[in-house]
Each structure stands twice: as structure tokens, then as C-alpha cells.
């Protein structure tokens, strides 16, 4: 079993501004661990995490891929999260290349068809549309969970760009909850982009029914 990355350098104060790893994070970590042999066999070079927050997931991915070394690119719209991502990389002896960015916007020009592994634990909680918009504009912690209608407004913006980013053998792991309408989400990616998918892991945690979905060509 691969241990959860060391986050002892982060404090309560950091978690006032940055999402603290919780059950949804672990659904993604456990899925990645389960997928380890397949991920390594892809021989990836470039991994991209959207909304990296504490940096826990990318730090974990680097352990999953060992001894393979990859480039970890991490974006977050929250400047404090970008800083935490970098410090979590240092704490766990992996270079996490963080940037303050909305989704993958500044990378899409150069990384067209070049990203081997994409990870996204999005703001998936259904809220009013305005609440999600405002959360994204404020670049704070609410942006890590407020998802707008069906909890899909931020995710949907990213889903439109996934196909352009993925390398021919690339894979994309997305965290979702039941309220996101997982069957519709999957069939939408199939019909719009011919991306296949499978549910790698699903688990009930309190009121949430969580999924990690993998998309691939």
C-alpha cells in the first residue's frame, strides 16, 4: 500500500483557504493505486492535475508511478493552493510545477495531444449557478467545492477541452458524485468526443456517493 503523502507541513490556517484532503480525495488516490500497473505501462511523460489544492494527489501519483519520473504540472485558480502544492512537493521530494491558472487555459496551446495523465477532483457540489461563478472569481476555498447546477458547471468547462489535451494513449481521471449524473456524463463524453470511460472505483461516504471515472480513447 502506498502511504498518503506527508502533509504535516500544512496547518489549520492553510486549510482555511485550501481544501483539506477528504473522502473524495481518497477515492481518487485509491483509484490511482489500483490503476498503478496500467499507468506505468503507458510510459507517461507529462501529468496534469487541475485544481491541485494541497498537492496531495499529484504527490501521490508520483509515488504510484515510481520508479518512472514524469513532469507534474499542477494548476489552481487559488494562489494559496498553488503555494501549498509547491510546498507539498518539497515535503515529499517531488517537483510539483504549480501555476495559478483557470483550468488548463495557458497550457492548451502547447499541450495539444500531449498530456498522458490528467487528474481532476472538481468542485462537484450542486449549488446555485451564481454561487459557483462567484466562488471561481474569488479564487478562494469555496471554488474547491461549489459546482453550480448539478455540480457540473466547472467540470463541464473542462470536459470540453480534455479530448484536445490527451495524448493518443492518454487517460483522464475525474472525481464525481451521484448528483452529477454519472451515466449522462459518460455518455456525453462518448457521443461528443468518442472518449470511452469506466468507473474505476465507487464508494459511499456519509451522504455522498463518490466515483472515480476514467476516460480514454
Amino acid at each position: 500500500m502506498i502511504p498518503t503523502p506527508d502533509l504535516s507541513h500544512l496547518s489549520r490556517k492553510d486549510y482555511d483557504d485550501v481544501y483539506e484532503p477528504a473522502e473524495d480525495t481518497f477515492v481518487l488516490l485509491d483509484a490511482l493505486e489500483q490503476e498503478a500497473p496500467k499507468l506505468k505501462s503507458l510510459n507517461p511523460a507529462v501529468c496534469l492535475e487541475i485544481g491541485s489544492g494541497s498537492g496531495c494527489v499529484s504527490a501521490f501519483l508520483s509515488r504510484v508511478l515510481e520508479p518512472l519520473v514524469v513532469l507534474h504540472l499542477c494548476t489552481d485558480i487559488n494562489p494559496i493552493a498553488a503555494r501549498c502544492t509547491v510546498s507539498t512537493g518539497l515535503q515529499n521530494k517531488v517537483s510539483l510545477n504549480a501555476m495559478i491558472s483557470d483550468l488548463a487555459s495557458p497550457l492548451s496551446f502547447r499541450l495539444h495531444g500531449k498530456v498522458d495523465v490528467i487528474l481532476f477532483n472538481p468542485p462537484y457540489v450542486p449549488t446555485w449557478s451564481e454561487e459557483a461563478d462567484e466562488a471561481q472569481e474569488r479564487h478562494g476555498i469555496a471554488g474547491s467545492w461549489a459546482g453550480g447546477l448539478s455540480g457540473m458547471e466547472v467540470t463541464d468547462r473542462f470536459l470540453k477541452t480534455v479530448d484536445q489535451l490527451l495524448s493518443p494513449q492518454g487517460v483522464f481521471y475525474l472525481v464525481a458524485i451521484k448528483e452529477n449524473n454519472v451515466p449522462e456524463l459518460r455518455s456525453g463524453m462518448q457521443s461528443r468526443f468518442q472518449l470511452q470511460s469506466e468507473i474505476v472505483l465507487q464508494r459511499r461516504a456519509g451522504r455522498e456517493h463518490l466515483y472515480t471515472i476514467k476516460f480514454f480513447r
Binding site: 510510459n43 507517461p44 511523460a45 507529462v46 518512472l68 519520473v69 514524469v70 513532469l71 504540472l73 494548476t75 485558480i77 494562489p79 498553488a82 503555494r83 509547491v86 517537483s95 510545477n97 504549480a98 501555476m99 495559478i100 491558472s101 483557470d102 487555459s105 495557458p106 497550457l107 492548451s108 496551446f109 502547447r110 499541450l111 500531449k114 472569481e137 479564487h139
Partner: protein
């Protein structure tokens, strides 16, 4: 820690800025050299993703002319060590990246680039 490997993947994404928007020009930079573990296997895997011309131009602007203008066909150890240094050991801690087309400025502070746009600049 904006290393040149990351710089090589960033382009201006302001509204309507779709040509001559890469590579971003480094300006007023404070550089740091940080040793990284040499991994020729990673470099070989990464080569197909690299924009060679942009890397060489940027390195030369920073005063490093160790890489040839033309990408070599064979990657020998000597070449890979030079590439390793330029890509992974030179990092920008402070400064800015400026779009050669629309002059948009992306600041770098504490080694983290801020790639956000104002609302009216989003495409």
C-alpha cells in the same frame, strides 16, 4: 520555481491572441540554479513534447548557449546532460513572462507564475 521545462509549455491565452503567442518572453528575472537528479530516461520520453527552438532561444536570452540551434538526431550522454541542466536546473523565482504578440504580462512571484486573465481578456 518556473523551470524552463514549464516555460516551454506556457502560451498566452488572452482573448483573440492565437498567433505569435509563444514562447513568452522572460523579463526582469531572478534566476536560481537548483540541482536535480539526472534522468536520461525521462528526458528521452519528454523530447517529443518539447519545442526545441523555443527552448534554445529562451536559454540564450538567459545567457546559456550550451544547446545547439538544431536539435541533434542522436541523444548522447553529453547532450542529455546539457539538456538536463537547461530544462530542469535553471528556474525563475521572480520576474514576468510577456506575450510577444499582445504584450500581456504574466507575473512570476515566489517561483509561481500567475496565468490568470482579467474577465474582459478571457477568450
Amino acid at each position: 520555481m518556473v523551470r524552463l521545462i514549464t516555460h516551454n509549455l506556457l502560451a498566452c491565452h488572452a482573448k483573440g491572441c492565437t498567433s505569435n503567442n509563444f514562447p513568452l518572453q522572460l523579463k526582469d528575472v531572478q534566476l536560481e540554479q537548483r540541482e536535480a537528479e539526472f534522468n536520461p530516461d525521462f528526458l528521452r520520453r519528454f523530447m517529443p513534447k518539447l519545442d526545441w527552438g523555443a527552448l534554445v532561444d529562451t536559454a540564450r536570452q538567459l545567457g546559456d548557449d550550451s544547446l545547439p540551434l538544431e536539435q541533434p538526431e542522436m541523444f548522447d550522454d553529453d547532450f542529455l546532460r546539457k539538456l538536463h541542466h537547461v530544462l530542469l536546473e535553471v528556474s525563475v523565482e521572480e520576474g514576468a513572462m510577456v506575450c510577444p504578440n499582445c504584450s500581456h504580462i504574466y507575473p512570476i512571484s515566489n517561483g509561481i507564475p500567475n496565468m490568470l486573465l482579467a474577465e474582459n481578456e478571457i477568450g
